[in-house]
């Protein structure tokens, strides 16, 4: 364990974050997009724990606790919204949902 430095953990978190971001930008299935968003959140929690451990303080860990809680609530509501959207439109493909166009 002594060899993995802070930078390594942060790098992993960063790459996971970027991967999630790519998924959000590229994928058209709303559910997959949502999962990628959650992946970004998870990556952020990883960074938080890494900082918490390396700075020898509990505050980051407690924040992760709250992040997980909020993420759970958010997923529940978001999925309910997607289901409602599916009922309205019959699809979860994002390129079919363009009512905000100019």
């Amino acid at each position: 364990m002594e060899n993995t430095g802070l930078a390594h953990h942060l790098l992993l978190a960063g790459l996971l974050f970027v991967l999630g971001l790519t998924g959000v930008l590229v994928r058209r299935n709303l559910l997959v997009v949502y999962m990628c968003l959650e992946l970004m959140l998870a990556a952020a929690t990883l960074a938080l724990v890494a900082f918490s451990r390396f700075n020898r303080t509990m505050d980051g860990a407690v924040l992760v606790f709250f992040v997980i809680t909020v993420a759970a609530a958010e997923v529940a509501v978001g999925l309910a919204l997607i289901v409602a959207l599916f009922r309205q439109r019959g699809t979860v493909r994002s390129d079919a949902l363009t009512t905000l166009r100019d």
Binding site: S94, T98, R101
Partner: protein
Amino acid sequence: MPSDLTSLVHWILFLPLGAAAFSALFLRRAGGFAAWFSTAAAFGIAGLSLCVLAQGADVRWHVELAKFGGVSLGFGYLLDAQARLMLFVVSFVAAWIHLFSVGYMQEDAARGRFFAGLSVFMFSILGIVVADNLLMTFVFWELVGFSSYMLIAHHFDKDFAAAASKKAFITNRVGDLGFILGIALCLSLYGTLDFAALKDHPAAKAIPVAVGALLMCGFLGKSAQFPLHVWLTDAMAGPTPVSALIHAATMVAAGVYFMARVSFLLAPEVLQFIAVSGAGMAALAGLCALAQTDIKKSLAYSTLAHLGIMGCALGLGHPELALMHMAMHAFFKATLFLGAGSVIHGCHHEQDMLRMGGLLKKMPLTAATFVAATLSNCAVPFLAGWYSKDAILEAAWHGGHGALFAFLSLAALATCLYSGRMLRLVFLGEANSEEAERAHESPWTMTLPLVVLGLVYSVAGGFLASTLLPAGSLQPIKPALDALGFHLAAPSTVVGLLSLVLGFLGALKFYGSVRGADALRVVSPRTYHLLEHRWMDGLYRWYLDAVQRRVAELVAFLDLLLINGVAGRWVGGGVPAVLGYLTGRSFHRGQARAYALWIVIGSLFLAWFLIAR
């Protein structure tokens, strides 16, 4: 006990406010009840004032509202002798005018609003009377202006009433600009706004001219002195009780009262200006009253003349004389206006004097009180007006101010002239119109105040003066009056008697010579036209059109060019237009992914900006 007195003053000040709030909230529709409610409040105030006066002691009370770095702003009462006199005058006259309004405004549908307005006015004027510092005076000063605005435009659907109220308010504001600059100057020079503190201030020995001059601006506006006198005649567009209460007895006198309060802040140059303009105004306005056919406008010019006389007294260095004349004037002028109101009401809202006539027989009580008040106005010896007016004339003579004495004498002559004219046209002779034919005496609610104010006070002024003397600041007057040689052989008495005989009787004869038209106009139309005094308004109009409008148009043009044009259209409009062209189509496809891409690009840029730079 001082604390009892203080709570009495609290009641006096806040009772009208409560009445106004109650009326405004609940009694808008119930006009009749509102009328009696407001009148009861007014009589309550008068009664409480008498209690305060009976004690004869000063009331001082103060509460600090805010403190800014050593400067304390507060709210308080300073009820010294001057204030007690003014309190008596205001509360007494107002109570009777309220009663008069009950009868006068009987057919008016918006009575509730009117009486609420009267109560607001009472609150405001009492605030000025009891105020103990400049800022509080100023706040209530503005409130009085607002009440006046509201009441003049009582019939707001009539164009000329709305225009008149605006004119009154704006003219007052011009004066108030000087007032507030004066307050600021006072604060910066002396660090306090309290009257008592200012009086005892060590630097009060050498007051700069600016302080008095600026504070005087407020007086010029409120008390309709030259050059801000143009609003008073137009203000007659309001209902007659309003004219009586506000524009004859109390509001316009508030300026005189204020000047008397701060007389120690007025430099000799300021006093000189006030004296000269006051005397000039007195003479001019008195003569102009001869060219008005509307009875209220004629009385308005008469008020202007008397205000000029009061100003002259102030300028001569006798604020106590000014206050005394103010008190006397309040009584007989209120009676005159109320009498005019009774006449107008009796002739079914006819206000043109040329269409009246012969009302002596038809409205005897009104006529009697009107005559009594007129005689007081003309300073018939031993009536109320005589004491104060002649004292002022004496002061001018003994001070060696020949020119001022001449102007004041001219004013006295003019007073008798227009008074005689008014009596002749309105009460004597034959009826000149249908309405005058069918005139009848007014109801008791209107005649009782006339009797009380007119017969009792105008006539019994001498008695009044002697009772007020020990209670008021008039204490110093008695020896001064004696010193002035106040006896029948004095020059002022000579002038007075001459004016009476020549002016009054002459006018009675002269104006009876032509029927249905103004005799002066028939005899000398050019003089008449000159006296109609339209040139002052014309002067203001020229200034507004020629000068002010040009400046305003220039500023508007610059604003359009610079702000709208350059900043607005080019910069504010150009940047988004350019950006929009570049990113236009792809920006708003409606696809969330595209938006997400832009978010990512933006945040990357931000991250680079924050971390790497």
